[in-house]
Each structure stands twice: as C-alpha cells, then as structure tokens.
Symmetry: C2
Subunit: 701 residues, 2 copies
C-alpha cells in the first residue's frame, strides 16, 4: 500500500484549470503540500496551475506511483486500463456516479473492478475523498483548499471513513477547532477494491498512528476485520452506521451496501476488543483518549480520584462515573493527611475532593499541585479526573506540571474544562499539546474515562481458530453425529438433544415411548414429576398445539397425558417422556450461520422473559473460553448468574463450555443452519438443555 | 418575593473599597447594572466606589427593600437583627461559614434562621452567589465583574442552583459562549429560609421565564415541588446531584444536606412531568430546547423528518433517534414528488433525506428550502431535524427562512451544525436569535429532540389528592381494616392478604388450617395443585426456612406437607393452604413510607428476576389512575405486559388499580410502614397477590 501513502510521483487524470472544480482542487492541494512530482493529465491543456499538463497517462514521465482520477464515471474504465498499461500500481478514483447511483453505475463499477482483478492494479474508491496525511502534509483529495487554513494540526489518530462527510466536512470541523490531532484520514467511498481491512492493515503498522477510528456502513469481511484488530494492541474504535431498522434502510439507499446489522456485529466487535461509538464526536473523542493512552499499566483498575473546584461538580461526576462502571478511589491515610495540609480544619478531605476551601486558603496552583502529587502516589488511584476553570477567577493551574506528575505515576489524567470561551479554547489546545484529554462536558469526559478504564481486550490474543481445531476435528469424526450430514431440515426435539448430548452439552433425562406401558417403565426409572411432549413433524410450537404436559405427578396423570397425546397426534410423530427439571432461572443458547459473519453463537435470558427483555449477546465462532465468558459478562441479567435469594451461583465455566461447543459444532458441520436451546434451565447451579431444536440445510418435508 | 427580584434600594452590608473582595465586587456589580439606590454599609468608610457609605444599616435612608450581606459568618446574626429592626423585608446572605463547615457553622445557621422565624424577615442563602437577572441587568452577586464582558446575553431560561459553581463559574462559561440565553439565575446556597420552592413559585409567574432549570443536591419539600410543577405548563428540568451511593456521600460532605435519593425521586419527578438531566450542559441544553418550544401542538407525535447534507449523517441520526424513542416520518406522496424535483432521477428521495445529490444539481439554498417546505406541509412530520455546514463548502442555508417555514407549520425545527470554528459559532448565535435550538453534536441534538417530543406531562393536571379523598375516606372507615390500627409490627401472610382483599386487591384463594383434617377439607373445595406455607412469627424468609411446599398434587402429598410443617413449626404460628396459581409472569408491588417523600408506591419485575434485573419504578401516593398507568409504562419489562408467545396481555387497569389502592391505603393508615406483594402473578391476564407482607409501626414481639 506504500504507493498510496508515500507515492513517488502522482498523475492527476481529469485535471482542469477551472477553479472550484475537483480536477483543479486536487492539483492545488498537491502543489500546496506534496513534495514529489505532480503530473496533470488532460488532452485539452498544456499547463494547469503552472504545472506541465500531459495529454494522456501514457505520456507521463517516471516516477509515477499513483494516479488520482476525477473524470466522468463512464470514462473511468478506459482510464484504469491506461493506468494499468502504464504500470501505475495504485489509483484513487474520486469521481462519483457508480454503484451509489443505481444499476448503470453498478455495472460501471463491476466493469472497473474486473480490470483491477485482471491486471492487479489496486483501486481506491470510487466516490471518495481520498487521503489526508497531516504528518507528510499530503492532501490527495477534492476537499476544499480551506482545509489548509486550519494549519492541518497533526496528531496520532487515524481515521477510515466510508463517507465523504467524515473525511471532508467533519474533518474541516475537527481541524479548524484544533482541539485534537489527526495523523491520516482515508475516505474509502464505495470500496470496490481497497477496503477498510487493507487500510487497517496498513495503519496498524503506521508509526504515525496510535489509535484508529472507523466510520463504516458495511463491513466487507468482518472476520478479517476482527482478526486484524486482535493482532494488534493498537486501539480501534468503530462507529457502525445503520444499526437500527431505520438506519439500515438508509444505509442501503446511500451506499448500495447492506447494513452490517445490529446485535451480531456488536458482539463481534466486543469479542475483538473493538470500542464502539454512537456519534461522530464521540468516535473522535474516544480515539483522542486512546491516542493519548493507547495502553495502561497491567493491573490498572477503574478507581478514580476526582478533584473539582466545586462540590457540585464532584457530586455530578460521581453520579456519572457510577453509571459508566467507574469507582471512586478510597484514599490512603497518607493521601488524606497530605490533602488536609491544604484544607481548613473543618473540612476533612474525601473523594471527590472539593478543592474550593483549599483554594481560598492556599491558592489554586498549590492546592491542585498538592492534590495531584498525593493522589498520584496513592495505590488506590488508577486515574485522575480534574475539573479546571479558565478565565475570570483566580483558578489558574499548572497543567504542564499536573500532566508530568500523572505521566510519571503512570496514571491517566482526564481534564474537564469550564470557563470563558477564548480561555477554555487556549486550555484545550495546550492540553492537546501536553497529551492530556480535555473535555468541555463532564458527560463526555466520564464516557471516555469509562471506555478507557473498562476496555476489555488490551493484549494480543492467540488465534482462536488454532485452539479450536482439535475439538472441531473430534466433532467431525464423532459417529454419534451422523445425522448432521445424513438428514435435512428440522431435527425433532429428541434427535436435537441427542446431538447436543453427543457434544457433551448437559441435557435433561428423556426417552421416547410409543405406549402407556413404555411410559410407565420410564417413569419407574426417572421418578415423578415428569413432562410428556408430542413431537409432530413440522410443528415447532408444541405448547400452542397442546403437545406439552408439564408437572405429571402420578401414574394416572401420566397415563392420561400419553393417551391424550396419542389422540392429538393421530399416529404422527413420537412421544417424549422427560424428567421435569426444577430451577427458576432460565437462559437460552443458540447457534446461527450468518450470511456475512458465518457461524455465530448466541446466549440470552430465556423463558418468558426472552422476548420481553431482549437480553441476548452474540459471538463469532469458534469461541475461546475467554470469549465465551466475556459473552456471558455482557448479559444484562449477569447478576442473576451470581448466587442470590438462596440460589447458588451458576457454573459459568459449564455455561461458557456450552457456548464454545455450539460454535465448534457449527464450524464442524456446515449443514447446520441454526440451533436453539430454550430453555436452558439452571438446575442446582448447572445449566441443563430442556428443549432444543437443530435446523439443517434443506427440507425434510 | 418582589423585594428580592425588583428591590427599591439595596444596602450592601460588609461593603469595602478593597478591590477583588466580595464586599467590593457586590457594590461594583450593582453600580454597573442596577438603576436603584445602592447604600454601602461599613462603619470604617465614608465612601466606597464613589457611593456614600453608611456606618450601619439603621442609618440607611429609604427606600431599601433588600440587604446583601457579606460579613464574617459570626457577625451575621446581629446584622440580620439590625435589618429586621430597619424593616428591610429581604436579605441575601452571601457569606460562607455556616452549616457547610460543621457544627459551629450549623449552630450559627440555626441562630440566624430563628431570627427570620421570629421577625418574618426573608433570608436568601447563606453561602450563595445571589441573583443575576439579564433582562433588568441586575447582578446581586460576588460573581467576578468579568461577567459583564460576556454582554449578559438574555433569554428565557431561568436557573435555580444549589451550588455557587452553577451560578458563578458555569454561568460565565455559558454566557461567554453566548450560544444560549438566560433570564435569571438564582443561587440558593444553604437555603436556610428561601428555598427552591419559593423561587420556583416566583419563576412560574415570571413573564421573562419560559423554562426553568434546577441543580439541586437536596429537595426541601419534594411534594410541594411536585405540586408546583404540576400547577403549570411551564417546563421544569432538574439535575439532581448525589443520586448514587458515591454521589450521595459527596452531597453529605458538601452541603450538609441529605441526598434526595435515587429511584424514589426519579419516580416522583416523572410523575410530576419534570424532565431530568444528568450533566450541567445537558441541563441547560434541555432548558434551551424547552425555552424555544415550551409547548407543542396537541396531537404532536414523535415522527421526524431528517435532512442532512450527507448520507452518513442521516444514518447515524436514524440510529440515535431509534434509541431515543423517535421515529422516522414516512413521507406522503406529495412530499416525495416535491423532493424529487430537486433530486437526480437515479435517487428516489426517502427519509432520512441525503441532500447532497440535490445540492449538486440545485445548490444548497434551493434544496434545503424545497425540502423544508415539503416536509413542513406533510402531516406525517411532527418535527424537522436539519444538519447544516458552516464555511468552506457551498453549503449556505437561509436559516431565517427555514425557521419561519417551521414556525408557521407549528413544527419544532432542530439543527445540527458542523463546520469551521468561527462560522459554526456565528451560526449558533444567529440560531439562538431565531429561536432554533442548534447543536454541535448529533447525540445531544437527538437527546434534546427525544426529550421534547416524548415529554409526557404537558397539561396542568387536576389535584390528585381531591380525587383520592373519597377512596381514602372509605378505607379509613372500613371495619375489616381494624387490624391496621390495633396491631403492631409485621402482620403474617394470611392477615396481610386479608388487608389487601378488603381493599379490593385480587389475592390468591387461601385458608388457615390447624390440622391435616382441616387441610383435606380445604383441598376438597380448592382442588389440586395446592401450596402449604408455615407462618411463624418473626420468620420472613419462609422458603429458606423450609416453610413452603409448592405443587402439592395429591391428598398424600398434602398430608405429608402439613405434618412436616407442624413438626418444623413446633406449635408456633399458623399453616396456610393456598390454591397454586399458575402463570409465568411475576411482578411485584409495594408501598413504602419515605422520610422525605411520605407515602410512596412501587411496582417492579418480581420473582427471581426482581433483584437481578432491578426493574422497579416508584410513585408518590396518592396516585391517579394516569399516574399508575404511567408508572407501569416506565418499567423496562413493559413489553412483557403485552400479549406474546401465546400469553394474553396483562389487564393494565387492574394492575394500575392495585398500585393506586396501595397508595390510598398508606395514606389512610399512617401506621403502615411498608407493604410488599411479591410475587404478584399474572394469571389469565390478571395480577393476583400470591405472597404479601404488611409492616406496621411498632414491634409485635
């Protein structure tokens, strides 16, 4: 990808002397920042913006690594052919008029992609804003030259955007506000060839980039994306547009790409340690935070020291912190003693620290400095949150000194700034220089702090597929699982549970019977209470079809149930006698093969609450044990799994094992379309599959 | 309160010529903005800031309505005595050093308050920043005179703050940013006499105030606060600091006041139609929105037209809207036809509207105008959300015209602005002038839109107490409820349910028995399955004490259960035989008498999920039917109450009736401390109390 990021010579195809047109702006922007040779190409001109213009790309002298194309869409295929013949390795197509405009454009895009496949030339775009690199001062884009007025403030956050908006307008917004630094911005447009994964792969190894943010409306290859993110400690943040039904409809009409969906993708992102954002500024604020603190000390926790110049700010911060999974540090005696030296006697300091009484006695600099020194030395403090005021009052602080104290202690410092407009702006800019994330609003500050301190995946993980290979191989060879290749469509409840049992998933004790006599024999073995179910081919909602008898407590009841079932079923299907499992916590687990993400595993609250409370989480198979445990931790009903009200805790390893196995099973047998275990009843602390359904490819009716 | 807000003559007690001191700043600020007479009081000076100074308040000539006091705390009582003798009706005590500093200060505050009680003089403060009124340009405060540099931008939002921070530093922040207008800011400090309710009562009738925001760490009288809010259509927003455990601890140490607590107060606020905020900027952004749109058309809904200059902005907006309870309008054919006139043929317009292709064809002004005209005329549109860009591009819009179009259609317009720093700032200021709420971030914009369009209580409600009186009176006179005055402490389950039944709350069929023989007789009437429970005085956790037998299906089982219970209970307590209620949706309901809020009602998810999912809502008794239905609507498990998976919907009127009755019962019998109904099982769509506990004042052991 170096020819895109550090090209030796650039041809601009479709260059024009008409100011305000894209073909002129590209040349202008190159002239302003790019130090290599620029070759405008247009048969109608000899010179553009004082630079020699060439009639065609074949006339352009060496070296030329990159062509930037801004011609009418219908001209693009022949231009790309010419570039390929000229052996130019990379082309950025900034013209619009492709798949985003309908079927004609879609065909044109298809034709262009085929040239790339045939010739090996790499195509970036079309319908994109190209690349901005603040370190090299490269602007390979039709973005308005007003961008140079911002000074192109550089930093260590790089962005990849499937939208001209983020790469163009929003970038100017960000840069002109100057309160965060950007390294590179890559606008990928319709991503007909070069996609987010190609660029992510490059940025992971880019020394100018410490954190990567993406705005995407579709994920080209989610598994590769996850693997890339898991291969690095460099933090990745994603804003995934089109998550809701409404949003997804908009995504289709806008980018001609399917939405990457909701819960599945959210689960996949969490599994790969990717941070998710919900808005543009939140995306870049998360990135800014992570760019400043790309890694934290090993055993860093979520305990924060809060220093504010008013009590109210501390109280509101504490409320918000609680909501974002952060705790208030309980200061050591040494810290409390040191703090007391700057506070009046009547005010014993505690966390949050209301600095005001100290400021009145000792001035703001001394009070803030003393507090910073003491909390940074306190082992109960993982991070420091400081509220400052700029202008008007005697509330000056020495931010540089505070930043140094925090940095030396290895504790991230967060700053919330209030004050007069110009002074707060100066404060923001100097904090940016000092590498301290500063925020105008307490809510965003606490959001970023919560994101950083609770970020789950910080280490490079081993490849989960290697770990899983062995179990998948065993499952493939298990003779008890023959039905997964020989049968089609829905397996009945009994057979579905035989599959699960063969994989080692705990299932309820049950047997098929054909008569009341057989049922009595089974009852003699199992004991009461029992459940009788009628399995009729094609009937999946047994309860609604009067095919379930719960709480059978006696021989008479059993006889009645079996007899009635036989009448209801009229000779079709089989009768299942189950031991009734007691337990009032019900979960569900499942497997689904997603068209984009492949084999995926689900876990959620089961029973009647499943739909009403919609508490489900997804993971991408194969799962490691850690993946599965993390999935369980993402459930809202997580506290229910701990022991309470006389109930013991749920064995999470067993539950995680079930999820892992479901995923491995789906990987081993590509014919499995879907598995549902609902309910998965917690009996004496262990999950037991009470009802199950396996769906294979094809039809069985 | 007019003497605080429009005083004829102000004495400043503790005035001083030393610049930077509070006693000087107050005089300065008065001189700059106040047009009445100012009388500095200090025996040591003849003149302060060019104004004649008086040795004592008794020497001050008429008229003098207000004294602002800034002397050492220990001097305050004698100063207040002097003010009372001088017949000054109101005093603002801006000095600190009272209850917030510990027991000595608390005693001083007590002494001062007693003078007010004795003389009828009204005291505002102490430990406060006083009052700022931008319309009259009154600054009765020690706030830095730098506040005048902001130009004191005026507007129709008034704030009441139990924190100097919000009234001082944050006010300067707000005003110097100039992107919202303020009418009055009242800093109430320790509120020893004048409290939020006094000020709220004044602001409700203040013609300069259209919306009221409060930052409070404690509610002096929550019921009066609720009644005031229910008495007006003027919107009220509250940021209630100290909601979490951590926050509450901070509140105690900061203001010497107890935190107003979490779920109870949240419920009370929702019941009174008060909007709640979580951060300072969110508080004022909510107020700004409500100040611009204090009321909406009667049948206004939550359907929004979204116009953005890029597809990505529309997609992200739609995702966020979904989360904040907003829907995308489905445009009428007329709207789609009009939109199509400015869009290229290949792009059939839909909501969200990606304006870019239209802008390229027709320019931004025409495209935005056409879109605004058509969506404002569309009956499917309740509000319009527009994303604009300021600077750099050719994306100028005529905001004034758009504002006029929306205003004439009676549809609230919201604007999200991105762009170059100075240009976006200009845009924000002109939007403020035009009365259009504008936001820099999509997330906040959607939050505010969601708050406005989903705001529940828009109309003045009838006094709920009048409506409830009749039922409360009947309950008081009901002879079946004699035990509520004659007994003490815990009532056993059987008696507790007799109480509920007498009130008309559906309870499970049950009878007390003393022998196996009696139990058999009961079974003959009820039929199986049954439940047997042992009620032993002092034992509230029956299950854990082996006092509950569920699913008794036969005479033998019944005999075994009763016999075992008799052994376990060893002659103490009574045995209850219940019909076993089937139903797999379990709720709970309850009553609690809160020290601050008085009688309150609770409803929540019951059974094993109660604690794990913590889905409970509170209301303040007596409840109207609407209050009770609104409580039910605030439950997260709300969808569970609708029919699903073969289960019918829950009869909400019956459930609401139970909540209402619990509240009325608590109002009728002040000895009731607590009532718990758990579970309240949904049986054939109707809630039935299966277990219950009534706790009265006093001990019964």
């Amino acid at each position: 990808m170096e020819f895109f990021f550090r090209p030796k010579g650039i041809a601009v195809i479709g260059a024009t002397p008409s100011r305000q047109k894209g073909g002129n702006i590209i040349v202008s922007n190159l002239k302003t920042g790019y130090s290599g040779q620029v070759y405008p190409v247009n048969p109608r001109y000899k010179e553009i913006e004082g630079v020699t213009c060439y009639p065609s790309v074949s006339d352009v002298p060496d070296p030329v690594d990159l062509a930037i194309v801004f011609v009418a869409a219908r001209m693009v295929p022949q231009v790309i052919e010419a570039c390929a013949q000229r052996h130019i390795p990379g082309v950025m197509i900034q013209s619009a008029g492709f798949a985003e405009t309908g079927t004609t454009g879609e065909a044109l895009q298809q034709e262009t992609r085929q040239i790339a496949e045939k010739t090996g030339i790499r195509l970036w775009g079309p319908n994109c804003m190209g690349l901005v690199d603040t370190h090299q001062r490269f602007v390979f884009s039709t973005v308005t030259p007003a961008i140079w007025d911002t000074g192109l403030p550089s930093g260590n956050v790089s962005l990849i955007a499937q939208s001209g908006m983020l790469a163009g307008a929003f970038l100017i917004d960000l840069m002109s506000h100057g309160t965060m630094g950007i390294a590179k911005v890559c606008s990928i447009g319709n991503k007909m060839d070069v996609d987010e994964n190609d660029l992510l792969g490059y940025l992971i190894h880019d020394p100018d980039t410490a954190a990567i943010g993406l705005y995407l409306e579709s994920l080209t290859d989610c598994r590769r994306f996850m693997a890339l993110c898991r291969s690095t400690t460099k933090p990745v943040v994603i804003l995934n547009g089109g998550k809701t039904a409404g949003g997804a409809a908009a995504a289709r009409s806008h980018t001609a790409s399917l939405s990457a969906g909701g819960a599945l993708v959210t689960g996949a992102m969490a599994q790969a340690g990717i941070v998710t954002a919900d808005g543009f500024y939140q995306l870049v604020d998360f990135c800014r935070t992570l760019g400043m603190y790309p890694s934290l000390p090993d055993r860093s926790g979520n305990r924060v020291a809060v220093l504010t110049y008013t009590g109210a700010a501390g109280i509101v911060s504490a409320d918000l912190m609680h909501r974002h999974g952060l705790a208030l540090s309980t200061f050591s005696d040494a810290t409390l003693e040191t703090l007391q030296t700057v506070f009046p006697e009547w005010m014993p300091p505690s966390n949050p620290v209301d600095m005001w009484p100290g400021i009145i006695l000792n001035g703001s600099k001394k009070t803030y400095d003393t507090a910073m020194m003491s909390v940074c030395a306190d082992p109960s403090v993982d991070a420091v949150f400081v509220h400052c005021f700029a202008g008007g009052f005697s509330l000056d602080v020495d931010l540089e000194r505070m930043a140094k104290t925090a940095r030396e202690a290895g504790k991230p410092l967060f700053c919330w700034i209030s004050g007069e407009r110009d002074r707060t702006y100066d404060f923001q800019k100097s904090a940016q220089q000092l590498g301290v994330p500063v925020f105008r609003e307490v809510m965003r500050a606490v959001e970023c702090m919560g994101m950083l301190l609770n970020r789950s995946s910080r280490a490079i993980e081993t490849d989960p597929e290697t770990e899983a290979d062995e179990q998948i191989r065993r499952l493939k060879q298990d003779p008890r699982l023959g039905m997964l290749t020989s049968k089609k469509g829905f397996l009945d409840e009994g057979v579905s549970k035989q599959v699960l049992e063969a994989c080692g998933i705990p299932v309820v004790e049950e047997t098929c019977v054909t008569s009341v006599k057989e049922a009595r024999l089974v009852a003699a073995g199992f004991g009461f209470p029992l459940v009788a179910k009628g399995m009729v081919p094609g009937v999946s909602h047994k309860t609604e079809s009067n095919l379930v008898y719960l709480g059978i407590a006696s021989e008479q009841d059993l006889e009645a149930a079996v007899t009635t079932l036989q009448q209801t079923m009229a000779g079709r299907g089989r009768i299942l006698i189950q031991k009734q499992v007691s337990g009032n916590r019900e979960l569900m687990a499942g497997f689904v093969r997603d068209p984009r993400l492949g084999p995926c595993v689900m876990c959620g609250l089961g029973g009647v609450f499943a739909e009403a409370l919609n508490d489900t989480v997804f993971g991408v198979a194969p799962l490691t044990l850690t993946d599965a445990l993390n999935m369980i931790d993402r459930l809202k009903c997580r506290p229910m799994l701990d022991g309470f009200r006389g109930m013991g805790p749920v064995d999470r390893d067993v539950l995680a094992g079930i999820l892992k196995t479901l995923g491995h099973l789906g990987c081993a047998y590509p014919d499995i379309r879907e598995i549902d275990i609902n309910p998965l009843i917690i009996h004496q602390g262990r999950p037991v599959a009470v009802d199950a359904l396996v769906v294979l490819e094809g039809e069985n009716r």
